[in-house]
Symmetry: C2
Subunit: 220 residues, 2 copies
Amino acid sequence: MPGYQHDDASDAEVARQSALYGPLAQTVRELADAVVRTEVDDAEIVAVHAELELLTARLRKQLSPGPYGVRFNSEGRSRAWGNAVVGLRNPVAPPLEVHRDPVGRAWADFHLGAAYEGPPGLVHGGVSALVLDQLLGEAAGAGGKPGMTGTLTLRYRRGTPLGDLHGEAWIDRVEGAKTYAVGHLADAGGVTVEAEGVFILPKWARAAFEDRATAPDRFE
Amino acid sequence: MPGYQHDDASDAEVARQSALYGPLAQTVRELADAVVRTEVDDAEIVAVHAELELLTARLRKQLSPGPYGVRFNSEGRSRAWGNAVVGLRNPVAPPLEVHRDPVGRAWADFHLGAAYEGPPGLVHGGVSALVLDQLLGEAAGAGGKPGMTGTLTLRYRRGTPLGDLHGEAWIDRVEGAKTYAVGHLADAGGVTVEAEGVFILPKWARAAFEDRATAPDRFE
């Protein structure tokens, strides 16, 4: 199982790490938003930049050689904390808090700010694709049919405004190792983007995850 | 033209702003990577977090009320500095430096690190979609046929490893207001993800941009 690591962290230890890294990542999200939008004077930009370089160097003194991966603790809880959509420790992730239903449904209410812009005032079309890929994959996993994205098709009905949004996805049908999921993004005025995707359980995973107790419930 | 602002910045002023904000955003990208990967002790995390909160507050003292948008200067140069893929000032953007050819071709060589992870060690499928949406849209714009994404279809041939990547896109054909673009991502071993998309010039833009001198060369 390449990259899926088991460690011996108890649920209490996971909660402790969450309380430590979650707020750090959240502050860096707010910092990223401020970097896009700040109008303070040049001298202040230069001064803040110099201090940020020092703080970055402090965090880089001991660095994992690779990305976070997906880690499982002794109680079977998975942590995809580096994930670009849901990662607790990842400042690039909005992050989405995804709710899941075992019938194969996943949904999230979330906010996208200035750092997710494409056309002026609108969510980047590719960011909508990013969020929907995650939600469709989570729906497949929630229904017990996790997989990696095989194909993904997006239909943009209208521009998605930056701000408060809702996304949801569900399993349409399952054919062997292929799970077909559909979903959409919406603002207060209704659906803005529709998606459908095929999620495929890789061959190595079909063998490795026959023991369902150690299977990840999602791949991304 | 909602959100497309013209200001009186000269090319020299744009270059000055670029030299000021570009390195700031780059440091925050390195900071985000460090937040995912750091293994320094808890006390150091808490100490760095406290200082980051203060620096964020300093940048937030004067803040644009909205996102960056797309700005044009007096010499017709556009700045999409808040863009989630190419934005110079956006720490969420890798950022891609996109090369364009007037026949309707766009390409970029870029690096995706730990903050863009989906499955362990691999680029998030949605991040591949994000990058390809941008490249296909840039190809359409490079060929003089800019538009907003209408549909986008991705085919994932195999996992895309985090690291050094290449992406390219080109116009396949044009039918009225619709531009059909295709493209792919590749690592050193070849193509990993293929994409095709339809880009549509909105009605308001068809009228507003009849004067091509003020038309943006891309919408996202």
